[in-house]
């Protein structure tokens, strides 16, 4: 109990989705407001951390001290440790993810261009700050960087970050625009919390990540805090349906070996409706949801009307009403 309190005071949350820890979640839920206040008091520290981030210092100070991972599940991490060196093999374990770039890059790019008119031919996303949560080896981070955005990729698996940094280091075009940090989303959120608006991101991308997380509520909360007002959140994940179990787990993992066995846990899948509800409760409003379909024969993805298996979601952080702003500033 004491250790739990300790964690709450320091602004870290440790939730487990399993039933036995249900009481923890309740207790932690009540702590949202007090944590908000705590974070304000640490604003000076965080402003420094934000400046550090601006100068692109790679090691994340906080993660080196933490012993426990929070939104992420240890078992999930283990799966990705062993595959850390295989990210960039286009025909290897991650070939489906490489192919997914065709859809997700254009989805992100086009939705961002709707809001931010492109002024630079060749670099349509120039000037935008993007956070890639669960970036892995940088498969999505690099294309976004090539389109001109300043991208920060984070992932709790240090080996993956190492692979990502090495791969990006060969391309002088990317070195200036992409940086990586081995930390979790809530650790980063703590750095950004209470900081300047410039520390926040124009867009946050969490592609093929939420189905591996231990706690989605923390994730949604952190993302909402790290987004600028009007900023975009892009999520691609797998729906929780019978079809997604049959095709996404049984066929994909066990029969066709499109993804390594054990990659996905059906219990962690989430439906678009539930995800929408979760995001709305954090002030992020869903703009569009599109289904995606993988063709194992051609190895290509395509857009589809049905969100029964894979889907992509675009949401925008709502602008806070002026009265609320004044109330916050006048607080302690």
């Amino acid at each position: 109990m004491l250790s739990q309190l300790g964690r709450l005071v320091s602004g870290r949350y440790h939730y487990k989705r399993s039933v036995s820890c249900g009481m923890f979640r309740e207790a932690a839920g009540r702590s949202w407001f007090s944590c908000g206040a705590l974070c304000k008091r640490r604003s000076q520290l965080q402003r420094n951390a934000c400046l550090e981030m601006k100068q692109r210092v790679v090691p994340c100070q906080i993660s080196s001290r933490s012993a426990s991972r929070t939104t992420v599940d240890h078992d999930e991490l283990k799966k990705f440790w062993s595959l850390a060196s295989k990210w960039w093999d286009e025909h290897g374990e991650f070939s489906a993810l490489h192919a997914l770039n065709d859809l997700r890059v254009s989805f992100i790019r086009d939705n961002l261009l709707n809001v931010h008119r492109a002024r630079h031919p060749g670099k349509p996303l120039l000037g935008l700050r993007i956070l890639d949560v669960g970036c892995g080896g940088g498969l999505l981070t690099e294309p976004l960087g090539r389109l001109g955005a300043n991208v920060l990729g984070i992932d709790p698996v240090e080996d993956s970050i190492g692979t990502a940094q090495l791969h990006a280091s060969h391309d002088p075009d990317l070195c200036d625009r992409i940086s990586y940090q081995a930390c979790t989303v809530e650790e980063l959120s703590a750095e950004v919390e209470g900081g300047e608006e410039e520390c926040r991101f124009d867009a946050i991308v969490a592609s093929e990540v939420v189905e591996h997380l231990a706690d989605l509520e923390t994730f949604a909360f952190c993302c909402s805090h790290m987004l600028k007002e009007g900023g975009s959140l892009f999520i691609t994940t797998i729906n929780k349906t019978n079809l997604s179990y049959a095709l996404g787990v049984v066929v994909a993992e066990q029969l066709l070996r499109i993804v390594p066995r054990g990659t996905h846990d059906w219990e962690k899948f989430i439906s678009p409706v539930e995800l929408e509800r979760l995001l709305e409760s954090n002030g992020v409003s869903v703009q569009s949801v599109k289904g995606m379909l993988y063709n194992p024969v051609s190895g290509a993805w395509s857009w589809t009307n049905s969100t029964a298996i894979n889907y992509a979601l675009h949401a925008v952080k709502q602008r806070v009403r002026p009265q609320q702003d004044r109330a916050e500033h006048s607080g302690p």
């Binding site: 060749g122 670099k123 294309p143 960087g145």
Partner: protein, 414 residues
């Protein structure tokens, strides 16, 4: 410059000198190409076609192809003769126009003239920690360059293709082409391209101006050498005789030919333009006679990791259909479009996925064309009666089916 490719850095390594043409020389150069409307569209898209039209070019509206062994004939033209079929452009003019356009893009494109590559170092598909993941090029002057994508456009004896070890299907035709600039006997509108299939090989006359035409005569090596050494008068006689002489025709073939024509005319109404007579040649441009050997070649793969082959480096054809340059321009248009799309999706330009798409699309287009050209060459290389009868009938029948001719023209115009 394609907007999606702005910001990419392009380097062209050219072995020759920079070709600048401030004023078009009075003398026409010998090497010319037939530029199809599709290729002209590509060139105008990059702003080079405008320079060409200001310098010198000749559109033509009709093509007449006929046999020496029979009186079978086929003509191609666009309806109403209002549209142009294709354009004859001197190679020097085309290169000078492109050079001028490149000069205006110096922010993105650099050209290194008189450079020679001595070594290529190919990247591993997914790189080990220490090795450089890009293609490395070592020049004769010791400089080393690195590129995300290497495009091999170094001709039929491509060093890039050889260094990659790409298996190539190729053979030599036992033929050389003799090219020259011809002075016509009298000025004429000269908007027809003429080609006659002799048993030794096709002879073609392509319009350059009202008084000049370009000769492309593909024939055996021996005859080609003789033609080069002949004095002007005998050379001119040889050309006129090749176009007008009927000694290869036999009575049997003639009778069969007219029978076929009669039969076809009964089945379908006679279409196709009437037979025209090619202009007579009076003289040859001074020092304009050149010859070069002919062959066929096709690389079984157009691409490798971070490398693409285009133009003659990937495929080489007989000039009888005037398609060699156009196939190359088609490669350029296709690859540019795919690279532009890849850049807009933030992809590494050397990634294999879009290179595979390029290879598939172009091989699907090029192989049938090359097979057809090779077939034509073989079909018309003999004067044995059965083959002559077959091709006579085929040519006459094709001449009478407008839709088939339109399809052929459309395919060749891309």
């Amino acid at each position: 410059m394609d907007p999606n490719l702005m910001g990419k850095k392009i380097l062209l390594l050219e072995a020759g000198n920079k070709k600048v043409m401030d004023k078009v020389p009075e003398m026409y150069s010998t090497r010319v190409s037939s530029i199809s409307p599709g290729s002209a569209t590509l060139l105008s898209g990059i702003g080079a076609w405008e320079h060409i039209t200001k310098m010198r070019y000749k559109p033509y509206k009709r093509m007449q192809v006929w046999d020496a062994c029979s009186d079978a004939l086929i003509t191609f033209d666009k309806e109403n003769l209002l549209d142009e079929m294709a354009y004859i452009v001197e190679n020097d003019v085309a290169v000078a126009a492109l050079t001028k356009q490149l000069d205006s893009l110096s922010d993105n494109v650099r050209v290194k003239y008189r450079s020679r590559v001595v070594k290529y170092t190919w990247p591993m598909p997914h790189h080990a920690a220490d090795s450089v993941p890009w293609v490395q090029v070592t020049l004769a002057n010791g400089e080393t360059l690195q590129a995300k994508l290497l495009i091999g456009a170094d001709g039929p004896n491509s060093m890039v293709r050889q260094e990659l070890g790409i298996p190539t299907v190729k053979w030599n035709y036992d033929q050389s082409a003799v090219v020259a600039v011809l002075h016509l006997l009298e000025p004429t509108e000269n908007n027809v391209a003429w080609q006659r299939f002799l048993p030794t090989g096709p002879i073609a006359m392509l319009p350059l101006s009202d008084t000049l035409s370009s000769l492309v005569w593909s024939t055996s090596h021996q005859l080609a050498e003789e033609l080069l050494e002949m004095d002007e008068e005998r050379f001119v006689d040889a050309i006129n005789s090749a176009f007008w002489n009927n000694e290869n025709q036999s009575e049997l073939i003639d009778t069969a030919g007219s029978l076929f024509r009669g039969a076809l005319a009964a089945i379908m109404p006679s279409t196709g333009s009437p037979r025209q007579l090619p202009p007579s040649v009076a003289g040859v441009g001074p020092k304009s006679r050149v010859m070069f050997p002919l062959g066929m070649g096709h690389a079984s793969e157009y691409i490798r990791h971070r490398v693409a082959l285009i133009g003659d480096a990937a495929h080489r054809v007989h000039p009888l259909a005037g398609q060699g340059a156009n196939l190359g321009f088609g490669d350029v248009a296709c690859l540019t479009q795919l690279l532009s799309q890849a850049a807009f999706n933030g992809k590494d330009l050397g990634a294999i996925q879009h290179l595979l798409e390029y290879e598939t699309e172009r091989q699907r287009h090029n192989l049938p064309m090359m097979a057809a050209v090779d077939l034509m060459k073989r079909l018309y290389s003999t004067n044995s009666a059965p083959v002559v009868l077959l091709r006579t009938f085929g040519l006459q029948a094709t001449n009478m089916i407008p839709t088939l001719k339109e399809q052929i023209m459309a395919f060749a115009s891309k």
